[in-house]
Symmetry: none
Subunit: 215 residues, 2 copies
Amino acid sequence: MAKLLIVDDELPINRLVCKNLTLVGHECIPAYDGVQALSLIKSEQPDLIILDVMLPGISGFEIMKLLNSVPVIFVTAKTGLDDRIKGLALGADDYIVKPFEMAELTARVQAVLRRTKRDADTFSFDDITVDFSSRNVYKNGALAVLTPKEFSLLELLINNRNLALSREKILEKVWEYDYCGDTRTVDVHVQQLRHKLGIKDRIKTVFKVGYRFEI
Amino acid sequence: MAKLLIVDDELPINRLVCKNLTLVGHECIPAYDGVQALSLIKSEQPDLIILDVMLPGISGFEIMKLLNSVPVIFVTAKTGLDDRIKGLALGADDYIVKPFEMAELTARVQAVLRRTKRDADTFSFDDITVDFSSRNVYKNGALAVLTPKEFSLLELLINNRNLALSREKILEKVWEYDYCGDTRTVDVHVQQLRHKLGIKDRIKTVFKVGYRFEI
DNA sequence: GACGGATGTTATGAAATTGTAATGAAAATA
DNA sequence: TATTTTCATTACAATTTCATAACATCCGTC
């Protein structure tokens, strides 16, 4: 579930898109011109913007230039290569050409959301599947019971996979910023994870530093 | 500049893609079937894979299922919506439909690389790659196991490459400021590095002073 | 080439770090 | 409140690192 801003001046299309994306579980905010879009981006801080290029007033390209880190799927009626490249060059995460099928749009929305990790769904490796939204972990299809701390630790390790994480960093992220506990606590929890999930090899010890999740 | 794996069994297309992406500054490794692709993914650890769906042996979909963290742009001749959705659902970062224009492919490659660009803080020379963020060192693609002191020493040498470092300076930086140990300790660690990485020539001895990493 | 000091090489035991299991306190749940 | 779960800490075992020493080899100077 994510908050989406749908920017399209054609009312029926905007409605249709909103309806379909709401059906797959997202919150949709419609905008019908560039100025309105910019104001809603500020006030609502959406997770993803679906942006029509051809807009009254400010064009979709202009809006994209003003954006920073919000992912954008950009919609164009033109099938010209130039426009598509221009969109990607400006930093769009994807584009889709009108007329498009709803199934494709929703698939692309999910793909972009997955990428941007704002709406992290699941992550799988070996015989393990981690479901971030339900905070469940499955090993060989069976539910593995992790405590909150264990799950947060696993989450942190996965989100920083192939990076060495110091015990201090782990404490800071999984525990509180100003937590003044023993760094050995981290060790014990790492052992728990290794034991419960049977992933001795995946969670590597970085001597004198901390741990690294390798995939 | 990134390392790309181009998986396509059609030789002319593979060549064309390699040529164009090399022109924009990437390193391209061609693969002509699924098995070869999987082996090259392991050995070369590419930054991005351009993956044709229709392959002899293992299909592109099968390969994608086996992957975890490597970004994929998937190429399909089929224009059917299902295939595209399937690709995105499997975790592809993008797809492109044959026949495609080179400009579009390179634009998409850049877009995906920009998105997935992690702070790949690495330094490479000869057959060695030093990854500072994961604290891993690879020799010929294989992990070389360095101790913390060895890694710190290597880090210091690289950061001061082509400069003569006195033993005192090295002790001060890699060990503690007020460390009062034998300077011979430095020697032993330098030998370890030379031995483990097989870089006798790169770490030069500066007689009566210390060492210098030459590149 | 011979000498003396500097560096290369290898081995070893101490020290530091991490793995493991247990314990009781704190927190969550009933 | 009683019961269960979570979790920080501890103690000890296992492992890894590393400083030092001892000897071999190299280098520059005479």
